[in-house]
Symmetry: C2
Subunit: 365 residues, 2 copies
Amino acid sequence: MAHRKTTLKDIAELAGLSVSTVSRALKGDTEIALATRDRVGKAADRLGYQPNVFARGLSTQNTRILALMTQGLHFSAFYRQCLAAFEKSAHERDYYILGCSVAQGHGLREYLPLLRGGMFAGVSFMDYSFGDVQVLDLSREVENAGVPYVVTYDDPSLPEDGYHIVRVDFADQARQAIEHLLKLGHRHIAMVAPWSRPQFLNGYLQAYSNTDLPCHRPELYNIPVGLIPEEGLMDSARKIAEEVLNLSPRPTAVFVPKAIMAGPLQFCLKRAGLRLPDDMAMVTTKDVRDYEYLDPPLTSVSVDIQEFSEASVETLVKTIEGGNETPSRIVTVPSHLIIRESCGSATGRGWHGLERRKHGKEVVL
Amino acid sequence: MAHRKTTLKDIAELAGLSVSTVSRALKGDTEIALATRDRVGKAADRLGYQPNVFARGLSTQNTRILALMTQGLHFSAFYRQCLAAFEKSAHERDYYILGCSVAQGHGLREYLPLLRGGMFAGVSFMDYSFGDVQVLDLSREVENAGVPYVVTYDDPSLPEDGYHIVRVDFADQARQAIEHLLKLGHRHIAMVAPWSRPQFLNGYLQAYSNTDLPCHRPELYNIPVGLIPEEGLMDSARKIAEEVLNLSPRPTAVFVPKAIMAGPLQFCLKRAGLRLPDDMAMVTTKDVRDYEYLDPPLTSVSVDIQEFSEASVETLVKTIEGGNETPSRIVTVPSHLIIRESCGSATGRGWHGLERRKHGKEVVL
DNA sequence: CTGAAAGCGCTTACAG
DNA sequence: CTGAAAGCGCTTACAG
């Protein structure tokens, strides 16, 4: 099918040098004469040289292959954008990244032999709940395999010491979102948050208490949702929309930290006859490009994906290269409010701000 | 972070044998005394041995890692089920499989260094159009890297010789679907097919000509669609629904080889006020479990995923292990009609068959 | 500034 | 039936 792959030896022969020199030249070792480095580079290009990842990995004990593990990767636009950003950060450090979708035992069968087989130089666990037993098992596997890892996206059930954590402050996100909505005059705000992230509720309550406004029955206005299978997205959204609309008094805004539901929920609310943003303001999290194309475009509070990925990759690479002695490291990536039109913004279509209009339409789901 | 990985040497020491013997024992070489094999197996288990993929790959020149490349992997339920099935087939042969989502140049940047770096023992190109220049470039890259590959899902623009192809007969799928619909009494049938797969139209026409029924303006009733970005799915579906419903005479059935659109299209048709299956029958392709949970459950014509994956992995592994001399191989995987309720089947809710009812409802999209 | 040599963890002819 | 040895393609002390 094809020519044998070109190796260091081929280059060495072509350039009349030893394999060791070629190896050093290629990695830009300044001990090697500049002229030599040049010559080697040219020869390598001419032969289309690409280092054999396996040989390199064996020799250095660093495969330079990182795994980004999360559940429902590729399902969520946010995860996919993260993967792309991780990739960018990894490449800058001459690492590769492979996205592994590992959810509740599923996908593990696929990656475990590779993990144990020394494939990965490090793994980043993204957006897992370490309260979940399955996830704990997974992390134990990784630990047993002797693979360095970082936990990105935090988790409350994780002790701080002994872990490398790139943290997103969920409570702060909720606080920012709710304060924004309170400032716009909303008083009854529903929240659709992941079951496993109680921090959002803390932030929600904190925002109210910061303003001295009364917080009406938070136990009802906060709607926790579990893991949603891809196929069940619209169905869940419809149910949630129903729940939101049946609250009394009817909320005028909804904060959706369960970001995967934001689009579907918006769709369902519109189908239910609501005019957005007038009848219902919306804020979500995990900002992605797609929010701009939704109607109305979604306001969100989110980490900057690139900044976040950068922090995660940097921490991971430091851990890998620093060896066992790397002190455990906690980084918190800040969250910012990104205002679009879903709360009635100035952008594009006038400022709706405080004047919420009553709607008399029949709501049909 | 963790104990050094256990190696063959560790087992050898524990069992009081040489590394070579341990290596052979572990792969079940019958030359090795059964008692020895046993002892080695026990020792390996006790130490939690897992062979280092890199060392093995280096030594055998076969990394045993396969790549399944397709665009929009994980986006489509079908692709994901395929990945799972490939995985199963691969594992039976002691291979691993990694899913790579590579679309129009995108994702390539990520996988190319790994590909060139000798990571993959083989790659399966799934459901690509080799008429596309980008795809040709990709295949050339793979070829230059000296990596064996198979083309699964066929392509008309591919010459047969010199390729290993696992083929799906698109024309036959269309013929089966349309014949099914014609038999049920439908006379005006819309088709939503991928732009890049003209074979579907051939099958469509053939079904009509087999029955001597007149085929009304196929150039209008066949609606070609291009690549649809994930975010644009519902929008596209809405547009397509509109197009279908504006055809005159209004079709009573639609065949959707662009399978990713089937669910969304069904949803839109329902939202447009149609009663399914009475007002519109539907057949699609790429059968997945999810079809069973849709309302009404979707009839489809499809290859059996496991059979298909098995054929693909088998062909690929033969090519890898057979070396350059493997004769080019073409396998066609048969397609079957899977009848559910979306054409008004006997299952569950009575037989609607020939009596199509007129509907007087307003159609709102 | 460059090269010879050992080693990463495995496999596989080749001896015995 | 088992072992010593070479080799896969790279990296990296260690000499010179």
